[in-house]
């Protein structure tokens, strides 16, 4: 059977243009419907949700064309279509989407917690601590001073004495420490980046969101006392805060265990349960005044590090999170009041760029003290520029508790976030790319033997020769697809096409790098065959479960050391690694990936080829004889059952 030709590389321009054409069609309907008077000015929350989903997806593609983060596209769509620019829907419609944003925040925090593994924390503890201290001290104090300097240009501070201005400035400084875990996770997810820089960015962002709670509570206490002379300073706030944090950690631990218990006991409808749990825990936290973000982060951390269901949780949150993320960021864009930028444009610019400068300073100082690797020292600060939901939340609290001044602070927060969100994701994506490049270069230098010239790179394997060797028993044809892909069509005795091999370098595929770094660190000489369809999902499960589980009965794991035949023998062996080469094989409509781990490139390819050929023999050709005298068993292999599914 001929495998379909692999899709051509994405033409980002074409994809973006097609997306814009689709958006044009949808917009045409809007124009017609409104001109004909068939609808009122807006179509309600459902209309807003649908529009943001479609336009956000397209906006992400357009952003990708310009090599910008997709979330920048989501945000831009929200800003442009939102109530403050084109007003395709109203502010109330955006408010009605709160239900989805609640889910988004929960999933983001769960995923962030699950990304924090104990080994990673052990590796990065010193770095995280110094970075957090640096940010907390330098940004808080620096922004307080900057705020005081700019206070003459803020009319809402007129008439306030210097101590009061400083107190409000301290509040602003505390808010400036907050970061955007959602942005960080979204960029890391989009790029598939792993390594010290990515770990550091995520760790610091999550840690600082706990630190900022303490800073903000203290600063708010001072600000309230300064703005209202009748209010006395009360140390009860520290007790309350401590209690809240401790109880939040306890609640997060409990909920993490509950989630793991469900995964263990029921194990089905995980998505439905996770969504329900996200809403339920949010309500629980609101009712008891726990810190929602911390509770979810701890829950995710517990599931990942104390149970074996961490990858299940990540998989579930990712599957639910894709659509939710689009809405979350697009809604965030729609909430950005462009009018606030007009009102406080100059001030907001000063505060935003001042924060970026202080972030850079704090990062460099912290990294120097922690002796971080070069990629972190140079580029980690780019991950700390964005601000989003957490900061908006703090601004809302300030507005509720500080009267008129607080209200204006909240407006100013929105204006500054607008600037930070324009710069932050883009800067992080660029910083991440440069940091990863630097890490790769350093890795290559470290891996070379001392006597070898660093400028020398190993020659690429002779693919054709290896194929000749590995497939010596087979008849095959070669088709050159492009520079990176070759297709080898196996023929049986009647020259009937029975299968083909599609070979590509796994390093070219983002998922492969991700898998290698994330899931298969322990190295061993093994070959892995897994069904191609849904491969990421299955691979992750293999990492946790044993092959032979009901859902993995098509998976094969082969020990390369034992040569290729008999190779389908270790169905209970945990998956260990993925190869620099992966082969996609289609045999009788069944698709497999073949990979050989931790071997030199030519060995990996040869092993994978031999394994594929053996698999082909097992599935298509006559199976080896079991009877006397080596007589071949003529019984054809049993037909391959399609994956179970239902039509209804």
């Amino acid at each position: 059977m001929n495998a379909p030709a692999p899709p051509p590389p994405q033409n980002r321009l074409l994809v973006a243009l097609r997306g814009l054409a689709a958006l044009g069609l949808i917009a045409a309907w809007l124009v017609v419907v409104r001109r004909q008077g068939w609808v009122e000015a807006t179509g309600g929350a459902m209309f807003a949700l649908g529009f943001l989903l479609v336009a956000g997806t397209i906006g992400g593609k357009v952003a990708a064309f310009f090599r910008l983060p997709q979330l920048t596209g989501y945000l831009a769509v929200g800003v442009i279509s939102g109530p403050y620019v084109l007003a395709l829907f109203e502010k109330d419609d955006v408010e009605d989407l709160k239900l989805i944003n609640t889910l988004a925040l929960a999933l983001i925090a769960l995923q962030a917690g699950a990304e924090l593994t104990l080994p990673m924390l052990r590796r990065s503890l010193r770095s995280l601590m110094w970075a957090s201290v640096g940010h907390a001290v330098i940004i808080t104090l620096g922004m307080t001073a900057l705020f005081a300097l700019l206070s003459p240009y803020m009319p809402f501070l007129d008439g306030l004495a210097l101590p009061a201005v400083l107190a409000v400035g301290l509040l602003w400084g505390a808010m400036a420490v907050s970061k955007a875990p959602a942005d960080t996770l979204a960029i890391l997810g989009e790029t598939g980046a792993k390594g010290p820089l990515a770990e550091h960015a995520l760790g610091v962002v999550v840690l600082l969101d706990v630190v900022v709670l303490i800073l903000f509570a203290v600063a708010l206490m001072f600000a309230k006392a300064a703005l209202n002379p009748e209010a006395a300073l009360s140390l009860h706030v520290f007790a309350d805060l401590g209690q809240e944090l401790v109880v939040s950690v306890a609640a997060g631990t409990t909920f993490g265990l509950v989630i793991a218990a469900y995964f263990w006991a029921v194990g089905k409808e995980k998505l439905l349960f996770t969504v329900g749990a996200a809403y339920g825990i949010t309500a629980f936290c609101a009712y008891f005044h726990y810190d929602t973000l911390l509770v979810f982060v701890v829950a995710g951390f517990v599931v990942m590090n104390l149970t074996k269901f961490g990858h299940d949780l990540v998989e579930t949150t990712e599957s639910a999170g894709a659509a939710v993320m689009v809405v979350f960021f697009a809604t965030a864009g729609a909430q950005l009041n462009i009018g606030a930028l007009k009102t406080y444009g100059f001030i907001a610019l000063g505060l935003a760029f001042g924060r970026i400068g202080l972030t850079f300073l704090a990062s460099r100082l912290g990294h120097r003290l922690a002796k971080d690797p070069p990629s972190v020292r140079k580029f980690a600060f780019t991950s700390f520029i964005s601000q989003a939901g957490v900061t908006i939340g703090l601004g809302t609290i300030a507005a509720n508790q500080l009267g008129e001044v607080g209200g204006e602070i909240a407006v100013l927060v929105i204006a500054v976030i607008g600037i930070n969100e324009m710069i932050g994701p883009v800067a992080f994506k660029i910083g991440l790319a440069k940091g990863l490049k630097l890490e790769n270069e350093l890795d290559q230098i470290h891996e070379l033997p001392d006597e070898q010239d660093p400028a020398m790179t190993p020659p690429p394997p002779d693919v054709a020769a290896l194929v000749d060797e590995a497939l010596a028993d087979f008849t095959y044809e070669t088709k050159q697809h492009d520079d990176r892909v070759e297709v080898y069509v196996l023929m049986d005795d009647d020259d009937k096409v029975d299968g083909n091999f599609l070979i590509r370098h796994a390093g070219e595929a983002g998922w492969s790098m991700h898998l290698r770094s994330q899931l298969f660190k322990p190295a061993a000489h093994r070959v892995v065959l897994i069904p191609e369809r849904g491969m990421l999902k299955v691979v992750q499960r293999i990492g946790e479960l044993e092959v032979g589980d009901q859902e993995l009965d098509d998976a094969f794991i082969i020990d390369a050391k034992s040569e290729a035949s008999p190779f389908i023998r270790s169905l209970k062996t945990p998956l260990l690694a993925l190869s620099p080469f992966t082969l996609r094989v289609e045999i009788e409509s069944r698709r497999f990936l073949v990979a050989a781990d931790d071997l030199p490139d030519d060995e990996a390819l040869r092993t994978a080829l031999i394994a594929s050929a053996e698999l082909w023999k097992q599935l298509v050709r006559k199976p080896p004889a079991k009877g006397p005298e080596g007589k071949k068993d003529q019984t054809p292999p049993p037909p391959v059952e399609p994956a179970p599914g239902h039509d209804g």
């Binding site: 689709a22 004909q36 649908g50 989903l53 992400g60 809403y279 609101a286 689009v326 179970p644 209804g648």
Partner: protein
């Protein structure tokens, strides 16, 4: 306590209820009445765990879920594999569906007159309501029968196949019936100004969304996740726009799904992933809809009557299906509708009072539940050994169920 906590309770109970308790076989078939019942028990009219304001706050979730279900039903209903049948059998099945619809429409209207529910008024609005209510009941569905017939292996593949086959014709007929009802009994909204305008807008919007989906290139040139997001967004957008115009949003979603089914073969690949979303969405929608039901004796009586009437008509018309149609098991004609409740939700949302005061929604839910329970009662009988049915050209092989 907030709406969110109640939602959690609904989902958790629903999830567990669908998995635990009696045998999974039983629970699967009676999922619809079970979840509707759970929702009702939690509601203000039941045990009052769920205040009415909270139930109302969850309406957007119901609407998004219902629209998504309608897309999935449309996607399945129009898949070429299941429509390219023998002309005689297809025609016979359609006749059964149409006659059943006619009988139900007339029957409902008669019952309403007898019960004086219409209050002596035969206004267009009431007629529209009754016609829709009848049409909604046409949708046969796979969700109850297909699951256990196909995957659980409780039914012979041939029978399971016919459940699917018949229910798809039911769905298509039901959706067309909605368009006819709109033409015959237009509502008081600008888009109904011209008698053919509203159906044209429904079909046009669905077609536009299909073209937009192709342009976005969700299938061949994009990741499955992005394609699914775009598809969900288009469904919700079209449904939102339809609601704003006073059109039944589930109809647009259904036709959107049906048109999508004719897009390139790769769409089927996408569909495999999409179908996995149906079960959790359906469970959530059913539980949440249950919280809005207001049982009155009229609604219950009409619901039960419709279910029985539908059974009777289909029994009489079994031979029209073609071949040795009389030998087909009765439950092939009875499966409850996956489209009925989304349509009922869609219809109720456009009426004053919304879901909670919708006579149609309650009647439809009762009828669907009764159909499911009757199906359950009939299904447990072992299939007759002397069933003599010619295997359809692409009927699944034994052991393969009805998986596409």
């Amino acid at each position: 306590m907030s709406a969110i906590l109640v939602l959690l309770a609904l989902l958790a109970v629903s999830t567990l209820a669908s998995r635990k308790g009696a045998a999974a076989f039983v629970v699967t078939i009676i999922t619809t009445p079970l979840l509707l019942g759970i929702g009702f028990l939690l509601s203000a009219r039941g045990l009052a765990f769920l205040p009415q304001t909270t139930a109302d706050a969850l309406l957007p979730a119901i609407r998004v879920g219902a629209a998504w279900l309608a897309v999935l039903v449309g996607l399945r209903a129009a898949r070429p594999r299941f429509t390219a049948r023998g002309v005689r059998r297809t025609a016979g099945t359609l006749v059964v569906c149409i006659v059943t619809w006619g009988a139900l429409t007339g029957g409902v209207f008669g019952v309403l007159l007898l019960l004086d529910v219409l209050g002596g008024s035969h206004a267009a609005d009431s007629s529209h309501l009754t016609a829709l209510g009848a049409a909604l009941l046409l949708g046969g569905i796979v969700t109850g029968s297909g699951y256990q017939a196909g995957d659980e292996g409780h039914e012979e593949p041939m029978h399971a196949h016919f459940v699917v086959f018949l229910s798809r014709h039911d769905e298509i007929t039901g959706a067309v019936a909605i368009l006819v009802a709109i033409v015959l009994w237009p509502l008081d909204a600008p888009v109904y100004g011209d008698s053919w305008l509203a159906p044209a807008v429904i079909l046009g919007l669905a077609l536009t969304m299909t073209v937009a989906n192709l342009l976005i290139g969700g299938v061949n040139q994009d990741s499955t996740a992005n394609a699914r997001i775009a598809l969900l967004g288009q469904s919700v957008f079209a449904s939102g726009l339809a609601t704003a115009m006073g059109l039944p949003d589930a109809a647009i979603a259904f036709f959107f799904g049906a048109f999508l089914a004719f897009t390139p073969q790769a769409m089927l690949q996408l569909e495999r992933g999409l179908l996995a979303t149906e079960r959790p969405v359906r469970m959530a929608v059913l539980a949440l809809v249950g919280a809005h039901l207001g049982f009155t004796w009229e609604a219950v009586a009409i619901g039960v009557s419709l279910a029985l009437l539908r059974l009777g008509v289909k029994m009489l018309l079994r031979p029209a299906v073609g071949g040795n149609g009389a030998a087909f098991p009765l439950h092939s004609f009875l499966s409850s509708s996956g489209l009925a409740i989304p349509f009922a939700v869609s219809f109720a949302m456009t009426r004053p009072g919304g879901l909670s005061e919708s006579f149609v929604l309650t009647a439809v839910c009762v009828a669907v539940s009764v159909s499911d329970l009757i199906t359950f009662a009939l299904w447990r009988r072992p299939p007759a050994p002397d069933v003599d049915v010619a295997v359809l050209p692409d009927a699944p092989a034994p052991g393969q169920g009805v998986a596409a």
